[in-house]
């Protein structure tokens, strides 16, 4: 059984233009289906507005999806009541993009990392303090710094604090939405290495939402490419990057500037005629699907 199974997940936003205008529908996420096995790093890629972030939030029900199914360890997440949802969120945690706005500036680091334990009523005060020190150690921060405030840390260190908080409840799935895109190049590498280390150490499964294709290629085992709210291609990292079939995937991959002055720059223009809107994914190779 897959750890996470997403079926036909859809999020529709309705908007009325003017007071008497016609209501229009935007399908931010449109019948998205994928599943993630235990221990995988699954990449969800695409450009702004493609629906990748909304998909991540719908899985955790930070945004309520319009329809579809989300099964986590076989349990239907969308059917859970508030209480059961909170319990299930122990096992699914989120790491956000912006390490500057995702940490409460008025809380000390120890309070930030301890908070999930308090909410779920875990341990005594002393036990929690010991756990906070342990968690800070896991993410490479000196536990001596636990009484400081977020502004006293650099971007990379703040992202480590966010990770320590996400790890507090021993989750099995971490949804990381652009976890390093706000960081400097040299710091990105540190945080990516940390994510890889933590995965091995705590048997974590990642859903990595990112626009940086070089990063996704580096760390993901499988990748899904989103365009206009739909998954247009999905497969092993190797299949998608080496044998892209969908016109959008090809254009996207060709646009990534390679850090090599002699690399040929053949940027493919997106051939919109080659995109069949609403086309369903079909298997075009072993474990490789495309909406063609």
């Amino acid at each position: 059984m897959a750890l996470l199974d997403v079926r036909d997940l859809t999020k529709i936003y309705r908007q009325r233009r003017g007071l008497f205008g016609k209501a229009t529908e935007t399908r931010a996420v449109d019948r998205v289906s994928f599943s993630i096995e235990q221990g995988e790093t699954f990449g969800l890629v695409g450009e702004s507005g493609c629906g990748k972030t909304t998909t991540g939030r719908c899985i955790l029900r930070l945004i309520e999806p319009s329809s579809g199914q989300v099964a986590f360890k076989g349990q239907d997440v969308l059917a859970l009541d508030r209480r059961a949802l909170r319990e299930s969120r122990r096992h699914m945690q989120m790491v956000f993009q912006d390490p500057y706005s995702s940490l409460n500036p008025r809380m000390r680091v120890e309070t930030i990392v301890e908070e999930p334990l308090v909410i779920h009523g875990i341990g005594t005060r002393t036990e929690r303090a010991a756990r906070v020190a342990e968690l800070l150690g896991h993410v490479g921060l000196d536990p001596e710094l636990r009484r400081r405030y977020p502004h006293e840390f650099s971007g990379g260190q703040r992202q480590r604090i966010g990770l320590a908080r996400a790890l507090a409840l021993n989750p099995s799935l971490i949804i990381a939405d652009e976890p390093v895109s706000a960081l400097d190049v040299s710091i990105q590498a540190q945080v990516i290495n940390l994510l890889v280390d933590l995965q091995a150490r705590f048997a974590l499964t990642y859903l990595l939402i990112a626009h940086d294709l070089r990063l996704v290629r580096h760390v993901c085992t499988r990748v899904a490419v989103m365009y206009g709210g739909r998954i247009v291609e999905m497969g092993t990292t190797e299949a998608v990057f080496e044998r892209a079939e969908h016109a959008y995937t090809r254009a996207l991959l060709s646009a990534v500037p390679r850090p090599d002055p002699d690399a040929p720059t053949v940027r493919l223009k997106l051939d919109r005629d080659a995109i069949r809107p609403g086309a369903d994914l079909r298997e075009i190779g072993p474990g490789h699907w495309a909406a063609v």
Partner: protein
């Protein structure tokens, strides 16, 4: 004597007061840029690359201020000009494109009127002529339907089109030099490619010199002729783009290139530690605390001079035949 460079930045130092001290955030930065050439200033946040650009245009906000050096455009030192004379340079001779296409355009004016404004301020065209020129410029930066777009407001344009409109405004007075500070960072990768192609094309068509400020080494590799790498306010290495990527000398440049994601499943070679904050920049070589190759001389500040095997200027004792510190070079120059 070599022909005079279009832009000659000479030992530029810009500083901020911190706790009663004058702390340089750009420290003795020198480079030249010729017509038709692209120089990339590369580095991480806080390295001084954007402040260098603002210093060239004399747009540094107080309490920051340019302490010393010269910025020569066609041989004329901009730092000695009256503010009134400087206003005639900005936009007219040097165009500026910033990262955020939403905040750089005024939301209450149409795109066309903002392009026309540049022409009117510099007395190059007004009224109908300015509007016609704005349409031409939108066409030159390949905005589709320029006749219609010219009357639209910034919020009606996509991010990519806004950035094109900004480039059109920056080019309105046909400047010789365009400074682009992270021009594609806020854009999606497919749009980024189009903007980079456009900049390259404009450079060829108008013989424009481009000072490109970026942290993205992929963008550098695809766009620049020469590259200057900055760290903690100083240039640490400068080289033609191929040399920099094939044979980087400074441990920081090497570290940056090695930390890029590449082969699947391999461990990234991260640079240890963090970028020093202003006011906490170490004496001597600022990179030494993070440098895997640091040795005893690194407590002194190395000069930016060609290494032992010749080649590009590099600010690192590993590559110097004798220990050429910055202080001795200054003494010779003085």
């Amino acid at each position: 004597m070599p022909p005079m460079a279009l832009l000659d930045v000479d030992r530029l130092t810009t500083a901020f007061p911190i706790e009663g001290l004058v702390v340089p955030a750009v420290s003795g930065v020198s480079f030249t840029l010729n017509a038709g050439e692209t120089l990339a200033l590369v580095g991480e946040s806080g390295c001084g690359k954007s402040l260098t650009a603002l210093s060239i245009l004399r747009l540094v906000d107080p309490p920051g201020r340019i302490v010393s050096g010269a910025v020569r455009l066609d041989g004329r030192d901009l730092l000695t000009l009256e503010e009134r004379e400087m206003r005639a340079i900005r936009g007219r001779q040097i165009g500026l494109v910033l990262q955020e296409p939403m905040t750089a355009l005024n939301p209450v004016y149409t795109v066309g009127s903002q392009i026309a404004e540049a022409l009117e301020v510099h007395g190059l065209a007004r009224g109908k002529a300015a509007r016609a020129r704005a349409i031409e410029l939108l066409e030159a930066v390949r905005v589709p339907e320029p006749q219609r777009r010219v009357d639209e407001y910034p919020h009606q344009l996509s991010g990519g089109l806004r950035q094109r409109a900004l480039i059109a405004a920056a080019l309105a007075c046909q400047p010789k030099l365009l400074i682009a500070d992270e021009p594609t960072t806020a854009l999606d990768v497919t749009i980024q490619g189009q903007i980079l192609d456009l900049l390259r094309d404009l450079k060829a068509r108008f013989g424009l010199a481009l000072l490109l400020i970026t942290h993205d080494l992929g963008v550098v590799a695809q766009t620049a002729d020469r590259v200057a790498v900055m760290y903690a306010g100083r240039i640490v290495e400068e080289a033609p783009v191929r040399t920099l990527f094939r044979d980087p000398k400074h441990p920081y440049t090497r570290g940056l290139l090695a930390s890029l994601p590449g082969q699947h499943g391999t461990r990234l070679r991260a640079i240890e530690g963090t970028v020093p904050r202003l006011g906490h920049i170490p004496a001597g070589c600022a990179f030494a605390p993070r440098c895997p190759s640091r040795f005893e001389p690194c407590g002194d500040l190395p000069a930016l001079v060609p290494g032992t095997e010749g080649g590009q200027p590099v600010r690192c004792f590993l590559h110097h035949r004798v220990r050429e510190t910055a202080a001795t070079t200054v003494a010779i120059a003085g």
